[in-house]
Symmetry: C2
DNA sequence: CAACTTCATGACAGCGCTGTCGCTTTTGCC
DNA sequence: GGCAAAAGCGACAGCGCTGTCATGAAGTTG
């Protein structure tokens, strides 16, 4: 029971293989009666086009790559982040009959450009989706564009006006988070910045400053610590911030992993969250709900962004019209257990 | 600058395209001097074989699928689990020049067999790696085997003697965990079982019983609660176990997610871990280190298992000899912060 | 109704490789 | 040195599709 080929279908339907091809690919200019005839033959034989033959003849692979930073190698596991992105890309691919090839890589490699070049040239991708933080790194973008592979970027940090880039309102969402904390009575609101390589995360610091300004609170750099997005760094920054007796009443970590680190330190030091200290994060990765108390955070609609980016990519591949503007997906505040009224001072 | 084809290389090297093919595929029966000549031409032209053409001619796709349960749809996020498996499969694929196609699916679907059939028949896979818990579900295995696609399973729950199955010593590792707890003075050791669909996890309960028996502790079914692998269910079970004043001194949840749930409840109830209650899990997913206190658990070498399974699969595909026995990768105890001496009674 | 255009279809030539087979040259062995 | 076996290489026919172009039928227009 070898798989049916296009010839088998053509024979059964009494048409040429080209007509079968037309029906299979939903091309126009086929009479309805013919279309039905062919469709029946396809169903009868359970015909599935051979993708390799299709690819060879049409010079398309129907394969989309997802390139992301493989943090697992550095034991900075933010698996939830990656999974969400995969899931979004996947759903867009499925809808358009593309398959998804994943490509973890590490931007910390010296010759990342070379690695990317290899990756792309070896494998038969029609297009590539680039996930944060890679999506904001110029050398990487350049390396990809040099290969000529169509690219879409999930780039929360990007404020460039470009096609095939999906962004989010990180900055204003951070300002909003500060507003929320102020509304709970907090005045000493600390901030933990992220990894300097991650543009998306850098943006968040600006939002924090915006928020302070809106509430006429002066920026106190003693309340700002630099992390690198990892839990460990969150812990380190929290240790610094909570050392004195006059510690801040709220800590705003610019990602959830670091906020989780802050919570670990609070537990260790016996500082009750949120009664004595509010802790908030950013991203809304699964971990946010797994720690105790569950994190108040900003939900970054990663999955939606990834899906949108992939849709854009596929439209580009199919030469379908694209909207000109970069696509913006809104982030929004999620209040959980880790934030509360500022303690009386 | 169109991509060089095999003809270009043949012309430059002054040989036939077949010889180029031989060199490119490292086939035997090519004189060294010829091989060098061709290799040089390949390098000069930066020739990369067209995968689609290769696939069409050789009836292989060089594509391996990874099928796993997409828990994100059910908000039971154990992303770390999936990522680890992906990572293992990926590394084996890379080593052998295969590409990886991911296929999240949901076994809770009614017609999963049909979905799998579609999936496999539509896409051009050479082989499939099946991840837990799917890897222990007979209807799923059957559906795949019916399609005839070569299969390798990462099946911690399987004790069947089969080729292309990678298992681990879950049961004895659980017994070992009980031994460890007993060595800390614990006598009332509760257990939280996992989702009944997950065979791997069912096995663990047996290991728990083994452990009790080894230490001459009678099984007290009041200390056994049934969870479903989710954090939420861990919380529910913990509420039940910690309700009375005479609660157990240790809780052994058969996966880390549920152990994290137990910890959440302990925090909420003000029961100090590990001083008043030891909590241990199983799997060693990233979350284990992210909660406070960090979980004592058993490290299941998922990545290694996934890699091994993929290697086996590829050897099968390449018709290389396989060892007959199922492959076993050892799990091992990881002591962290959540376990300690039993409190005095 | 002639002269177009549009629609519906098929013939055929590849896409860039690999598998098969046959031919020539080299190697191994008594 | 002679002969069989093995090694080294190339010619050629596909693999199963899609793109291009040709052809004839049907529809449109002044």
């Amino acid at each position: 029971m070898a798989r049916a080929t296009i010839d088998d279908v053509a024979r059964l339907a009494g048409v040429s293989i080209k007509t079968v091809s037309r029906v299979a690919n939903q091309e126009p200019n086929v009479r309805d009666s013919t279309r039905v005839k062919v469709a029946n033959a396809i169903a009868t034989l359970d015909y599935k086009p051979n993708q390799s033959a299709r690819s060879l003849a049409s010079r398309q692979s129907f394969l989309i790559g997802l390139l992301y930073d493989d943090q697992s190698k550095y034991e900075i596991p933010s698996a939830g982040y990656v999974i969400n992105i995969q899931s979004g890309v996947m759903s867009a691919c499925k809808a358009r009959n593309y398959d998804l090839l994943i490509h973890p890589c590490t931007y910390r490699n010296k010759d990342i450009s070379k690695e990317i070049d290899e990756l792309i040239r070896h494998s038969r991708l029609d297009g590539l989706v680039l996930a944060p933080p890679l999506s904001d790194m110029l050398p990487i973008i350049d390396a990809i564009e040099e290969t000529g592979v169509p690219l879409a970027r999930i780039a929360p940090g990007s404020n460039v006006n470009q096609q095939c880039v999906v962004t989010t309102n990180d900055r204003s969402a951070c300002a909003n988070m500060v507003n929320y904390l102020v509304s709970l009575g907090h005045k000493r609101i600390a901030f933990i910045t992220g990894h300097p390589d991650h543009k998306a995360v850098a943006n968040r610091y600006l939002g924090y400053q915006d928020g302070l300004q809106e509430n006429a609170i002066a920026l106190d750099t003693e309340l700002v610590q630099s992390g690198d997005n990892s839990i460990k760094s969150g812990e380190k920054c929290a240790e610094a911030l909570l050392a004195g007796k006059q510690h801040p009443t709220a800590i705003f970590a610019c990602n959830d992993d670091m906020a989780a680190g802050v919570i670990r330190v609070a537990h260790r030091r016996g500082i009750r969250v949120p009664e004595k200290l509010s802790v908030v994060g950013f991203d809304d990765i699964p971990l946010a709900q797994q720690v105790f108390p569950a994190l108040t955070t900003t939900r970054q609609p990663l999955k939606a962004m990834a899906k949108k980016a992939t849709e854009l990519l596929i439209r580009k591949l199919r030469a379908e019209p694209l909207e000109a503007a970069p696509t913006m997906v809104e982030s929004s505040l999620v209040v959980r257990e880790s934030s509360g009224k500022s303690p009386a001072i």
